[in-house]
């Protein structure tokens, strides 16, 4: 068995928009011919602006949506949910963490039930064991057993994102898709969650597909980087290649637009302002 956890070959996803009385039906090409592969324990970052197809790709990778064309391999097994359906053991291998921790937890469900539900649906584990596992997982993500019976509204944004990560890890997945997991969080909380993700990756040999538009976060966490623009992968390479020598003009625009927080660029800006005044 090779070490490749996820491989995508020429993934295409089109959405057909039905026509109305006055509008014609049309096709939106959300993802165009995207290929990549990720090895065990590594992180692939997908970068792009809103509407570039990165979340569509995330839905395909987490087996929620079927691609229109192209092949998807998870742990060297071909997955084709449109025609062959989805074997239950595959569902366990891939999990997702969503962007907004305020929207992705059911407000009427206690944290213990949030964590136990994936096990209840996917396994025939007895309730006592589900409870034990949920308790262990709470501690792994930096929360305590006292949080088991609380409701989501009693937690802060960073704590909720920890809960969402814990829920995703309950089934021991090998691949975790993180759709902008820290963009709704404050800087200091963002640092805590990124540290947690790094720790969990080491402990469970997890593979991450990390979707983000924040290049400083990507530079910190990624091994490989793919830049998407209007559904196409315009740049794909190791982190150092992409950051030191961006090829595509969009990648360069993206780098130029990222605010720089070092002392030299502040000096340069203040000097420019002085000459302009």
């Amino acid at each position: 068995m090779t070490n490749t956890v996820l491989e995508a070959k020429n993934i295409v996803r089109d959405y057909h928009v039905a026509g109305g009385l006055f509008t014609k039906a049309r096709t939106v090409h959300a993802v165009k011919n995207v290929s990549f592969s990720v090895e065990r324990g590594k992180t692939l970052a997908i970068v792009g602006e809103s509407g570039c197809g990165k979340s569509t790709l995330a839905r395909i990778l987490t087996l929620i949506d079927a691609p229109t064309a192209g092949e998807l391999f998870i742990a060297d097994k071909k997955v084709d949910i449109a025609h062959a359906g989805l074997p239950p053991e595959m569902r366990r291998k891939v999990q997702i963490v969503f962007q907004n921790p305020y929207g992705s937890l059911n407000p009427r469900q206690k944290i213990g039930d949030v964590l136990g539900e994936p096990l209840k649906i996917n396994t025939d584990m007895p309730a006592s064991e589900r409870r034990d596992r949920a308790m262990t997982m709470l501690q792994k993500v930096g929360l305590g057993p006292e949080h088991y019976n609380r409701y989501p509204h009693m937690f802060s944004g960073g704590q909720r994102q920890r809960i969402a990560i814990a829920r995703a890890l309950m089934l021991n997945p090998s691949l975790l898709v993180l759709d902008e997991p820290v963009s709704a969080l404050d800087l200091s909380v963002q640092a805590q969650v990124l540290n947690l993700l790094a720790d969990l990756q080491d402990e469970f040999q997890l593979t991450y597909v990390f979707i983000s538009h924040d290049l400083s976060v990507v530079r910190y966490i990624a091994d490989e980087v793919m830049v998407m623009y209007f559904g196409e992968a315009v740049e794909y390479g190791t982190r150092d290649e992409v950051f030191s020598n961006p090829q595509h003009s969009y990648t360069k625009t993206l780098f130029a637009a990222t605010p720089r927080a070092d002392v030299d660029s502040i000096r340069a800006r203040l000097a420019r302002k002085k000459t302009a005044a």
């Binding site: 602006e49 809103s50 944004g157 404050d186 800087l187 200091s188 909380v189 963002q190 640092a191 805590q192 990124l194 540290n195 790094a198 538009h213 924040d214 290049l215 400083s216 976060v217 530079r219 910190y220 966490i221 625009t253 993206l254 130029a256 637009a257 990222t258 605010p259 720089r260 927080a261 070092d262 002392v263 660029s265 502040i266 000096r267 800006r269 203040l270 302009a276 005044a277």
Partner: protein, 282 residues
């Protein structure tokens, strides 16, 4: 004389479990033509203190201060009618969520012209001409056609431009921008920040930039106030803040930037402030 000067501001909310103090002991001042950034994480009271200036807090809030003056006029003793003449005209505010802060039921043109009607008393033709001019200033193409579009027909970046157009409609002396780019992509963020800085320089406005993004601070501010749990931690000009931060909290914020990561782990606030203070500066 500073444009806006606040001394010892305290804002408390009445709740069912007693009084909650959101902001305490805040002093700040902005001069004409100055860009002041207020930095802090959620719950640090950075928006609350500006809403207190605007008089937009709910009835449950109690605002007290030693003094709060705008352009030499006392905002605390002013009647509601007097204040309404200033708010929206001399002090304007831009909010975080552009799509949520525009009214979905009215066209963009109506919403811009409303400000001009209330504050400037312009007639219909003047209002329309001014609205077109404003849309041009904020960089929206085909402004004549755009006047009759609704907010949902525009992108987030364009809605934010319309918000800015409404805010600068009466040539305000002070513009308060509450996280103006948080909901936007980096490329759009850059455009909006450039636009705000250009307008600020052209009109000579004072600008208060509320943000939690240190990158935005570095790109825009002259002076920075750092807030944490409702208290002011540090005030410095932008260069010395980034070069030699004084308070532990600022140091923590700067080192939590992934850009500055040196080892495998990002330092967090708790590495710097061991017993996270309940309001007291560390």
């Amino acid at each position: 004389m500073p444009l806006l000067e606040i001394k010892n501001l305290r804002v408390a909310f009445d709740t069912s479990v007693g009084e909650f103090i959101a902001v305490q002991g805040i002093d700040l001042s902005v001069d004409e033509r100055e860009v002041l950034a207020i930095v802090g994480e959620s719950g640090s009271g950075k928006s609350v203190s500006m809403l207190a200036v605007m008089g937009l807090l709910p009835d449950t809030a109690t605002v007290t201060a030693d003094s709060m003056t705008f352009n030499g006029r006392d905002l605390l003793t002013m009647t509601v009618e007097q204040r309404r003449k200033i708010i929206g005209r001399d002090i304007a505010m831009i909010f975080q969520e552009p799509i949520a802060s525009l009214n979905p039921c009215f066209t963009v043109g109506f919403q811009i012209e409303e400000v001009l009607r209330v504050h400037m008393g312009m007639d219909r033709a003047q209002r329309r001409a001014r609205a077109i001019e404003l849309l041009q200033q904020v960089g929206i193409p085909e402004p004549e056609q755009r006047l009759s579009t609704f907010p949902h027909q525009m992108s987030g970046g364009q809605c934010q431009r319309v918000m800015i157009a409404i805010a600068i409609a009466c040539n305000p002396k002070l513009l308060i921008a509450d996280e103006p780019t948080t909901a936007l992509d980096v490329t759009i963020q850059k455009q909006i920040l450039d636009l705000l800085m250009r307008l600020q320089a052209e009109h000579g406005m004072g600008l208060i930039m509320i943000t939690h993004n240190m990158g935005v601070v570095a790109e825009t501010a002259d002076r920075v106030v750092v807030q944490y749990k409702g208290r002011k931690m540090e005030e410095a000009d932008v260069l010395s803040l980034f070069e030699s931060p004084k308070s532990n909290y600022t140091k923590a914020l700067l080192s939590a930037l992934p850009d500055n990561a040196t080892g495998d782990r990002l330092p967090t606030v708790s590495d710097f402030i061991l017993d996270a203070p309940d309001g007291a500066p560390a």
